[in-house]
Amino acid sequence: MLRFLVRRVLGAAVILVLISFVTYLLFFALPSDPALLSCGKNCNPQNLALIHKNLGLDKPIPVQWWNYVVGIFAGRHLPLGNCPAPCFGLSFNNDTSVWSLLKDRYPTTLSLAIGGSVTFLVIGVGLGLISAWKQGSVFDRVASSISLLGQSVQIYFIGPLAIYLFSVQLGWLDRGHDPDWTSDPVGSLTGLVLPCLIMSVIFWSNYSRQTRSLMVEQLSEEHVRTARAKGMGSKYVFFRYALRGAMGPIVTIFGIDLGSVFGGAIITEATFGLHGLGNLAVSAVLQSDLPLEMGVMLVGATSIVFFNILIDACYAFIDPRIRLA
């Protein structure tokens, strides 16, 4: 298990190094001169050269990238100001450190991604399990038609409807606000309920269908039949044997969905007017704030890689054939 994890973490490190290099190329080397962007209206060659030097753009690109990566871990002294670790550079916009902006916004996105995932896993897998338990029942048929419905809606369409209905008209749920887990944990939670529910709608239908069919398949597996042949009760067999077998594939599907989960979180943010990474990325792009764009990119990529490792670890935990390999 330890070897497995070490291997995965090393692999992830390599991936992150590659991602950082490619994004660095994309943002600072390939497009128009980044110095031009921060040079402003009354730009002259002297100014431009100065900015070049200030941004370190006069050095070769690999060196620039290396300094950037080292800065993330060790901090940097930039000509425009000090940038303590983790240093993702200073925003072109107002010279504040990119990290302080990220640190501000990341909790919202992460809370939505985690909260939304928990919501759709609980609802989706739960519905799938009930459908599999009561195959062919009215519940099963209704659930599968609702699943179809869930797959054809969009967050930005049902989001405003839900806000209008549940918070404006009925007043049952908070219309959603940015979480602040340290000072107001309860308020943070209630503020996330509606966004997470809405975000989950586009995901859970898939999980309920997949869970149902995985369970139906598992229930006809021979090892499940053996468990019944031992005299184990049907609930026990359902949860301990069939669900155990279905869990691996469900986790795998979730792993594949990770990217869409973060995407969904960003759309949800925008729909509910929350201030997360998506919102930050949009303003960075609009203002051509390259260091900020780069920072958002890297944090997003790192999160996805990190959660992928977590999911692989779950998978290995579930399946001894992998854990003990």
Binding site: G136, E222, V224, T226, A229, K230, G231, R244, P320, L324
Partner: protein
């Protein structure tokens, strides 16, 4: 109301002195509803089995051997399966018994060894846990007692270092060891009836012999009744007391192992015997596999189900074989329209020379 005072108990099923067999299957029908129609997987099957006895069930693939035995354990999906007939285990009716009743019997009084131990054991739990589970459930033993019992069972079936192997997962066992573990699992509650569905097909010949010996030894120790399902008449010869030959969901011949191997009566049984390769056979006598393939159980042939592949329908004469279903007599006999003399003569003159 009179049953309470009725003195006559001689015919009561649970009477130990009565001569009702330990396991009695009467007129068993198993049908599956499928998209293509009704599959008549078992079609009027009857047999008996006593404690300590081994019954061999032989037949080609698809003849309904597994379906029959899954029906005894009540493991078919009730949603698409119709089962009629009588299955009496120690006087207790199993067809139509409640799930609770069946759960109490399964793994306890009756147990099953499945063919492919790699897929039949769960990859997610240790071998020890899988063996211990039914023991805890049926005897109320604690976790620790059940673990000790699992180790004891692993030792009994010849797994080396059972104290450590008990914590291994099935994929860490070899095929032969897994099959032994499967046997340990089936026997953990000392079942009175053990069904072994091709327990050795997946194993190589030496391991096969060891596993069969193991079953025999365990049977001698505990007096378990065994149903041994197999394609392989060689396996039958060494282990079974009596044999039922199945074809298309029916029993077509019944007898002691000796009778079936030495004087088989049904053309299908001749065919099965003819298709075993023999070391002693001279090379110029070709193997005689049964021509054609097993019939569709969606639409079984009329009359004798074997008539489409039988070389002796002309001997019977007319269209009797394709119109009239031959009956299998109780006890020794075969379901075939040939007369007893014809069967004997054909076997001695035409079949036997090819078997030697």
């Amino acid at each position: 109301m009179t049953t309470l005072t009725k003195p006559d108990t001689s015919s009561a099923p649970q009477d130990p002195a009565g001569d009702a067999p330990f396991l009695s299957v009467r007129d068993l029908y198993v049908r599956f509803a499928t998209e293509d129609g009704t599959v008549k997987a078992v079609d009027g099957l009857s047999f008996d089995l006593e404690r300590g006895e081994t019954l061999g069930i032989v037949g080609e693939s698809g003849s309904g051997k597994s379906v029959t035995n899954l029906a005894i354990l009540g493991l078919h999906n009730p949603r698409n399966t119709t089962i009629t007939g009588e299955i009496l285990l120690d006087g207790q009716e199993l067809t139509g018994a409640s799930q609770r009743t069946l759960e109490r019997l399964r793994g306890n009084k009756m147990a099953m060894i499945f063919q492919d131990s790699l897929t039949a054991l769960s990859p997610y739990y240790t071998v020890g846990r899988q063996i211990a589970e039914p023991f805890m459930k049926h005897t109320g033993a604690s976790r620790r007692e059940a673990r000790a019992r699992a180790i004891e069972m692993l030792a009994k079936v010849g797994i080396p270092q059972p104290q450590t192997r008990v914590d291994d997962y099935p994929h860490q066992f070899s095929g032969g060891m897994r099959q032994r573990a499967m046997i340990a699992l089936a026997l953990v509650c000392d079942p009175a009836l053990l069904i072994a569905d091709e327990p050795t097909t997946a194993l190589d010949v030496t391991v096969q012999a060891q596993v069969l010996d193991l079953l025999k030894d365990l049977q001698q120790e505990t007096g378990t009744a065994i149903i041994l399902i197999t394609h392989d008449l060689g396996v039958i010869a060494n282990t079974a007391d009596k044999v039922v030959v199945m074809y298309a969901g029916r029993a077509v011949e019944r007898g002691t192992t000796r009778e079936i191997l030495k004087e088989p009566q049904h053309p299908y049984a001749w065919g099965l015997l003819g298709s075993i390769p023999r070391l002693t056979a001279s090379v110029d006598v070709p193997l005689a596999p049964i021509p054609g393939s097993p019939p569709s159980l969606l639409n079984p042939p009329s009359g004798c189900p074997f008539h489409t592949r039988c070389a002796f329908t002309a001997t019977v004469g007319g269209d009797r074989c394709s119109t009239e279903r031959p009956q299998l007599p109780d006890g020794r006999g075969s379901a075939c329209h040939l007369t007893a003399e014809q069967k004997r003569d054909i076997f001695i003159e035409q079949i036997q020379p090819r078997l030697r």
